[in-house]
């Protein structure tokens, strides 16, 4: 029997070259001797010839995103020490857990003042219920369908793409689609949130007063959607077709991932927070030459903040570390998270969720709050809690006066 090398790299090279039919007679004899030497060798050799097994190995290698890892490295970012294992389903599970414990509708504040909770503050008898699930679907031809009042079943058919409702969720079937993919838009008014699965399997949660425009079938080089307001994405990985999200002033290129975008027009900043995977952020107004210099790659736990107060020509894009991602996506899990949030931001959230207008009487002190509450709570109960921080409210019709 011919002698053979003990170096695994020599054997690997022999096997690779035998696959190409490049072995000399002496090399073939060496490989044969190695295969015959041990049962484990022969089993490995045989497993390499199993076509299904080969494909599975290549697929296993493809799950690692080398392009994202390299970009992260070259951009000088530290490797993410910790991948947040909390995927979407876990977050739902966590929310359910919170619900199980939170029997009353609200539960904690940094300085709970029992007396003012008991007296109920000065809220008037009239009350406003919380927002609920629902949205408006606008088809390519301009037809508008109100999704919260429709029954299950097929609701539209556009160029062969069938749109149906199942358990209050939109489902797209593009198997019979023809021609140019039509664009649809889902809009949530104030007081509504909505969850939808896009044609590629990507899951999208829209907060109140938000929208997403997308094609009914994703074709071509990339998957491109436009959003406004606040949207959470859990993107289906397709290495050959990147996912791109545009807001008015920010462009987010997705490298397979879940993340939250807050792009409300009446907030001071546009923010993208990454939970898993990697995304590339570019200011939408950056010129082509600028593009490369200006983009930022986020690692999990980071938030990219684009300030709107700068001139459009020179938007400042900054990245902050280690914000609690659970706080950013609390809304999606049915919670208000008021930790470190100021009075005026909270009021903007309440305006959107309860469909009210907020007016300020004088200049109320800008208190910073702490704590969480369920979004499934009547407005009066939320106000009772906020009043413990010495803010006074008066509700007249749909207008809330803050003093």
């Amino acid at each position: 029997m011919a002698p053979f090398s003990n170096d695994p790299f020599d054997i690997a090279s022999l096997i690779s070259r035998s696959r190409q039919g490049e072995l000399t007679a002496a090399e073939q004899a060496e490989l044969d001797a190695w295969i015959a030497a041990k049962d484990e060798h022969r089993r490995l050799w045989e497993s390499l010839h199993n076509e299904a097994g080969r494909q599975q190995q290549v697929q296993a290698m493809a799950q690692f995103d080398e392009a994202a890892a390299l970009e992260r490295f070259l951009s000088g970012k530290p490797a993410p020490r910790k991948v947040f294992p909390m995927r979407a389903r876990w977050q739902w599970a966590a929310a359910v857990l919170v619900l199980a414990f939170g029997v009353s509708s609200y539960f904690f504040l940094i300085q709970p003042n029992p007396s003012s909770i008991l007296t109920g503050g000065k809220t008037s008898v009239q009350d406003i219920p919380p927002g609920k699930n629902g949205a408006i679907l606008t088809l390519a031809d301009g037809t508008r369908l109100v999704l919260d009042s429709m029954a299950n079943g097929t609701i539209a058919n556009q160029h062969g793409t069938e749109i149906s409702l199942k358990d209050n969720e939109l489902v797209y079937d593009a198997t019979a689609a023809t021609g140019e993919a039509a664009k649809n838009t889902i809009t949530t008014p104030k007081g509504r949130q909505y969850h939808v699965t896009l044609p590629d399997g990507t899951e999208v949660w829209l907060n109140a007063a938000s929208s997403i425009e997308y094609p009914v079938a994703f074709k071509g080089e990339e998957r491109r959607v436009k959003i406004s307001g606040e949207v959470y994405f859990d993107v289906t990985n397709r290495s050959w077709q990147p996912f791109v999200v545009e807001t008015g002033d920010m462009k987010v290129e997705v490298l397979g991932t879940s993340f939250n975008i807050n792009a409300y027009a009446n907030e001071q900043t546009t923010q993208t927070t990454l939970l898993t995977g990697a995304v590339k952020i570019t200011p939408a107004h950056a010129s082509a030459a600028d593009h490369k210099a200006r983009h930022k790659i986020l690692v999990p736990g980071q938030t990219a903040i684009l300030s709107k107060t700068d001139t459009p020509a020179e938007p400042s894009l900054t990245v902050t570390e280690s914000i609690d991602p659970g706080k950013i996506t609390a809304w999606k899990n049915g919670l208000f998270n008021f930790d470190g949030v100021d009075l005026y931001s909270i009021m903007r959230q309440l305006e959107r969720w309860y469909n009210i207008d907020v007016q300020y009487v004088g200049k109320p002190e800008n208190v910073i709050f702490k704590g969480k509450m369920h979004r499934n709570t009547n407005l009066s109960d939320v106000l009772k809690v906020l009043e413990t921080m010495d803010v006074n409210f008066e509700l007249k019709g749909n207008t809330l006066y803050v003093k």
């Binding site: 695994p8 690997a12 290698m61 690692f64 077709q241």
Partner: protein, 195 residues
Amino acid sequence: MPRTPSHTEQQILRGLTSGDTLQYSYIFKEYYSALCLFAARIVGEPGHAEDIVQDVFEKLWQKQSYFADLRHLKDYLYKATRNAALNFLKGARHSQERQAIFLDGQEEMTAAEDLEVIRTEVFREIYREIANLPEQCGKIVRMSYIEGLKNEQIAELLDISLQTVKNQKTRGMKLLRMRLSPVVFALFSLFSHHS
């Protein structure tokens, strides 16, 4: 099988000692996914595997070591990954079964680990061949082979005819078989991207 390193191989190795990002990126692309799979087999979790391999590459970058040839570099990468993975397992006590398999034989690779290296290297070659296919052809081979899509679905998604999909797929599979020797082909594609 001793052989004199080619000029370009020398460039790559010298690039590692001088902190040349182009050469470094080349090494990263060649080995990252394969080392992740190798590490995942030891620690049992793909997420941790990526952390481990990123550490290995960071150390390679910081050390700016000199390697006599690519073989030494390869040897270093696999051993560093294996040691980092074992250290990770020592830290995390949760998968004791796997520790039992991999913890005997600290310094030298075990025979079982050598077989894992062989398997990983063979598939790394195949994986790099697919990654180095010409653009459209490579995309179609990836969609079909890696993502497991049917010809009809690929035609639909890329907005091209079914016949084009079939032609490109046949061409891709042929290129995979009739390719030049590994180093020559890899270097050709490296420089064609930057010329």
